[in-house]
Point group: C2
Chain length 296, copies 2
Amino acid sequence: MTRRLEGKPVADSRNAATRAAIAARGDQRAPSLVSVHRDIDSPFRFYLKRQAKAAAEVGVVFRDEAVGDAAHPEALTARLAALGRDPAVDAVLVEHPLPPPFDFPAAVGELPLPKDVDGVSPGNLGRLVAQRPVQVPAVALAAVAIARHYELPIEGEPVAVVGRSETVGLPLALLLASRAPRMNATVTLVHSRSRDLAGALSRARTVFSCVGRPGLLDRSNVPPGAHVVDVGLSSVPDPTRPGGSRSAGDANPEALEGWADSLTPVPGGVGPVTVAELMASATRAWSWATGRESPP
Amino acid sequence: MTRRLEGKPVADSRNAATRAAIAARGDQRAPSLVSVHRDIDSPFRFYLKRQAKAAAEVGVVFRDEAVGDAAHPEALTARLAALGRDPAVDAVLVEHPLPPPFDFPAAVGELPLPKDVDGVSPGNLGRLVAQRPVQVPAVALAAVAIARHYELPIEGEPVAVVGRSETVGLPLALLLASRAPRMNATVTLVHSRSRDLAGALSRARTVFSCVGRPGLLDRSNVPPGAHVVDVGLSSVPDPTRPGGSRSAGDANPEALEGWADSLTPVPGGVGPVTVAELMASATRAWSWATGRESPP
């Protein structure tokens, strides 16, 4: 039987630590997180609701801000520069991916490194390569937190990261390959141009999938006995559900049942931990901004 | 018989292109490269001589600068900040690795991205992750140039990078895995904490080794028929040579003869191409600084 790796206990323990850090603040103001988005129907809107809920639970002051339409990408850059200077704001999250004409790296690069709470600016990505991370993408931290919590084989072991996006797959691969405690994985980076997916995964003891293609992983490509951390998130039609759709990961859970050693569910796996890691990162930014700790 | 992949034809062709770009400069000043180093006996001193020679050959104005001793690391940072502001200097190379108490990332981070000619600042490394490179480490460009010149299997193929240093192995892995033309490799990043070197390399069609441990690669770990790009550079004792030592790569060429499909020699492989790529990068920085081209 394939073990189901629930995100909830990992998120609960992370949120408890964040809540305790904030509760001990004395007369300091609470951490402040601003989430900036286009005001359109997108997967990010669902994520926004989760952010607001998690923030209320741990004691982060949360606000979302809609920026103008896609015709004025410079408005986003200007707004982020202003938030970057605002001493009352500790952490800023920007909806991504953002399609052209938005210049996402330039826009988010307006934020000081600690305020770029999701660690997706070129400056933060470079600090990750340089083994001096300031902020790291919450989704990468979440995937790693689940792997650590359930003691999946990582250290010194062959692992695969499927997907090479700048904000998910690449930072996760860099984190897994880093010298950080319980990392040091032998990482294979697999992507849409990899000629032989099954071959590329064949040695992996743990597979992290960050593609966003439902059903990609099944018995034809996941090696038997592997652990699967499913970072993919897609919406698939489902007439039996209210709204007519449901969330799905990259893995086909039915196909992998009894084949994979363990699998994170979607929903309920990496997702809730990502929100918890985002709150932890916002709280870290606040600790630096209020002088409780020094940034790295 | 194992094919010997000489660096000279690759370096010659790169240098010819650089020379032509500089010769066509009209009334613009020539490119200016400053190489900053501790004034001590190190492998970098040998590299300095190569830089001066290559610069003279292609028409780059080269100068080396010794900074004070290790007790005053802030002198290095201040000097780099000044070079960063100097409009007569297009490109600055800083000796690395630099041991503590020097803060290499902070020091080189004082340079604007185009002037950080070896692409080793966190800012440039982050642009590489974000798929918007400005400057990329010359050694990574050189390894890739050799692979392209000799048409080694890269695109869509399993390749391995051995070594995860911030300035060599990681940037090379990111470049090979990128969407750049003729890249898109399925990259496995292997390092000192990888539990099973032979296993980690077993699927690789091309192995890039960036460790600096002579004799590391032999028939016990390189798969038969693989191509080996030897980026390692060490000095080994050799009483038969003037000076009592010779250069060696990570590969044991005798052991791999008749086993590997091809191998870059050390010396004479990646080394000369690295110097040529450095001159090309300095010339690119000059093109940007003099307004002949726009930086990315």
